[in-house]
Symmetry: C2
Subunit: 155 residues, 2 copies
DNA sequence: TGACATTGCATGTTACAACATGTATCATCG
DNA sequence: CGATGATACATGTTGTAACATGCAATGTCA
């Protein structure tokens, strides 16, 4: 049922240290999930990062957020929020305007078109979530969440 | 000590479902780890994928492996092994030649230069592993490994 | 043997990531 | 008030990822 990482990547020898196996497990699992997510979002013309940015802006409401704030809220940090928002603006999913309070900032807000696309795309993403995590019990999920938080605390 | 994901990405509301939090935890943790790994490998002019390919070819020994086999053994699948090996060959880290047994295949082998670079780069990667995972106990690591394997089994 | 599919790899193209650098606006402090 | 630095964003460049397509070598089967 649950295959060993060692077999998945056809490694002949067992891992010497538990930490190595854990590290590679995180990376491989994430890569597979990202791939599944990319496939699910492709029909909507969105990358996962773009999808997340739209969700963040929806959560921000009318006032919107500046680029820096969007960057801080992204699940996976990206060092180029300007062009991320560029592309969303080009396709009309968000709108941008200079903040009169601080003219350095550019406030981004989600458009109706963006909201509509978000609602159409969300079920595809939930399907991925259910498929991959739906059969994992709450106790295991909790252990996973806590363990990963502890890893991140090491950085 | 262990921050909540919810706070890390400045989300105001708690996650509705445990699965969502687990999914995003995997993705975020992996992104942070990949970033740390990329930084560690940068002085050696290697990406993480390239580093892994070199390790795989070192493990294969004299006979080498063909591109398909390298792809199967990579932690994170990449759909372009040809050019991955191209770059390693350009910098002299691997050598390639057609397999006379099956002329479709191209056997890749690691060069002495590749072996030497691998040995110089490995400590940097182990440092990342120790920093991020060194303080996580074996029991938690085991739970992490098992939980992630169960997630992958869902796909 | 010859038609057909399959496998393994190469290559063109597009989009995006990552890094460095530039520019306008704001904050701070003498 | 003016100089200096910090902040927020824009932009140029390079390298790579992802996808599609094409070609050569092999396998399959009538």
């Amino acid at each position: 049922m649950t295959p060993r990482l060692q077999d998945e990547i056809k490694q002949t020898r067992p891992f010497e240290r538990l930490e190595t196996e854990a590290l590679l497990s995180v990376l491989r699992t994430s890569a597979l999930l990202e791939h599944a997510i990319a496939r699910a979002l492709k029909p909507f013309g969105l990358t996962h990062t773009q999808y997340n940015a739209l969700r963040i802006l929806r959560g921000a409401g009318e006032g919107g957020l500046c680029g820096r704030e969007v960057g801080e809220r992204l699940v996976s940090p990206v060092p180029d929020v300007s062009r991320l928002l560029d592309r969303l603006a080009e396709t009309g999913l968000i709108a941008r305007k200079r903040d009169p309070e601080d003219r350095r900032q550019v406030k981004a807000t989600i458009t109706d078109e963006g909201l509509e696309l978000l609602e159409r795309a969300t079920p595809a993403l939930e399907a991925v979530q259910t498929r991959w995590l739906g059969d994992v019990g709450d106790e295991r999920l909790r252990a996973l969440i806590d363990g990963l938080a502890e890893v991140r605390a090491g950085g």
